[in-house]
């Protein structure tokens, strides 16, 4: 059976790993290549690198990092952050990334999704969506969650699927950094409305939260950062717990 996937996310700034709590107050959690290898050994199914560098110069550092990760790591990985063109993606894929994730640039110019899917195939196009629930409605946000838009989460998710996205990485800004669990109701709605995989993100604090994201949220994969980086939840223990709950995982 196809397994549920556990995906550590490494936020990258100037070639180093950082993790934002509610997208601010960054803490340092080490060398991305070393961390990536460690995660691969410890049973992570995939990795996501999110480049939060502010400058073009720093993004070039990330391209070099991608090459090093591809050389040394034997599981798939996605690179996101600051990607706005076919050319950006071409360089990252040539450096060995398996998938790319786009977010703000796809909101600003949705045709980007079609261009990427047509040129590289849907399998490598992840669309990341940051959304916040305001008065019962899920609104998509831009630029790392700082700028609200008028887009409805579910409408936008359907649109990106139609445009050729291969996966959706949904981050609930209400949950991100809280360690109180994932946005399971919204996840479940997304997962049932769409026919592409949904990656749950934002809110992981305990093993039970992952169980809930898969059982209640019907997510195909779950992503987290700090609970993994700081060793709060070892991935092997997490997978054992999932297995004990009859969730198919690779152990």
């Amino acid at each position: 059976m196809l397994t549920k996937r556990i995906i550590p996310c490494l936020d990258i700034k100037n070639g180093r790993t950082v993790k934002g709590v509610n997208f601010v107050n960054l803490r340092d959690a080490g060398d991305p290549v070393v961390l990536a290898k460690q995660y691969a050994r410890n049973g992570a199914d995939e990795l996501v690198f999110l480049d939060i560098s502010a400058t073009q110069e720093a993004r070039k550092t990330t391209r070099d990092m991608v090459l090093k990760v591809a050389e040394q790591v034997n599981i798939p990985f996605t690179v996101g952050g600051g990607i706005s063109s076919v050319e950006d993606v071409d360089i990252l894929l040539k450096n060995g990334a398996d998938k790319v994730s786009v977010n703000s640039s796809a909101i600003k110019r949705p045709d980007l999704i079609n261009e990427l899917a047509n040129k590289f195939g849907s399998q490598c196009v992840v669309v990341a969506i940051d959304a916040k629930q305001l008065e019962g409605k899920w609104k998509v946000h831009l630029a790392g969650g700082s700028i609200p838009t008028n887009l409805d989460l579910f409408e936008w998710a359907r649109e990106v699927e139609q445009r050729g996205a291969g996966e959706i990485l949904f981050t609930s800004m209400n949950h991100d950094g809280t360690k109180n669990g994932f946005a399971n109701e919204a996840l479940s709605n997304l997962s049932q409305e769409l026919r592409i995989p949904i990656i749950a993100s934002g809110g992981a604090g305990s093993k039970q939260h992952f169980v809930d994201a898969f059982k209640k949220g019907k997510a195909d994969a779950a992503l987290a950062a700090s609970v993994f980086h700081f060793g709060d939840i070892p991935i092997k223990d997490l997978k054992q717990e999932l297995k004990n709950n009859n969730i198919e995982v690779r152990l």
Binding site: M1, L2, T3, K4, R5, A40, D45, E46, A70, E71, Q72, N74, I75, P76, L93, K94, N95, G96, A97, D98, F120, G121, S122, Q123, C124, G166, E167, R195, I196, P197, D220, A221, R250
Partner: protein, 194 residues
């Protein structure tokens, strides 16, 4: 040992080269017919869309060279699918090495593409020496090869399908050994030792 990865411009092939490097082997990338014909082992990778990949093969006349090769050839993912008769993707005629066709998964049963780790079972080749039945491999695909006489591994995604094929010196795997952790690297080692 000269291992050549056939570089016809389809998809991310550096990952395959890096995986060989991790098991201690320098594999070359080439689309030169002479280099390809003289290799000891060949890898035929592929990521992307079938009809455009087939067009690229034809441009380098690799569609004529590959079926005539006598040394072990390992098709990966789309590479394996292109070694079949035809695929529903872009209604494309393949290389015809494996007399079987490639179909699209129904998204009524499951999400398409299948993306992630799934088991391989009924393993029937030296390619899988010391690989456990039900081992997990990483797969990303929307099209699949039906169960057939060439099948050396099966996987279930709504239906049981052939996740690896063999005929004479030709091998194909639907999964990505280069991305399938230590077990995937073991399969690449086994291929080198064939």
């Amino acid at each position: 040992m000269k291992v050549v990865i056939i570089d016809y411009g389809a998809g991310n092939i550096k990952s395959v080269q890096f995986a060989f490097k991790r098991i201690g082997l320098d594999a070359a990338l080439s689309k030169d017919s002479g280099t390809i014909q003289q290799a000891d082992k060949l890898v035929f990778p592929g990521v992307g869309e079938a009809s455009s990949a087939m067009k690229k093969l034809k441009e380098s006349q690799l569609d004529l060279i590959i079926p005539k090769l006598k040394q072990p050839v390992l098709g990966i993912c789309l590479g394996m699918q292109l070694m079949c008769n035809k695929t529903e993707e872009g209604n494309t005629k393949g290389l015809g090495i494996f007399d079987v066709s490639v179909k699209k998964f129904s998204n009524q049963l499951n999400k398409v593409p299948q993306m992630g780790w799934n088991n391989v079972f009924d393993l029937k080749s030296k390619l899988f020496s010391n690989i456990n039945e039900q081992e997990y491999m990483y797969l990303v695909h929307s099209y699949y090869v039906e169960q057939c006489e060439y099948e050396i591994a099966s996987t279930n995604y709504g239906v049981n399908y052939a996740s690896a094929l063999q005929k004479d010196n030709f091998y194909g795997v639907q999964f990505h050994p280069e991305k399938s952790s230590a077990a995937g690297e073991k399969i690449l080692k086994n291929f080198i030792e064939l």
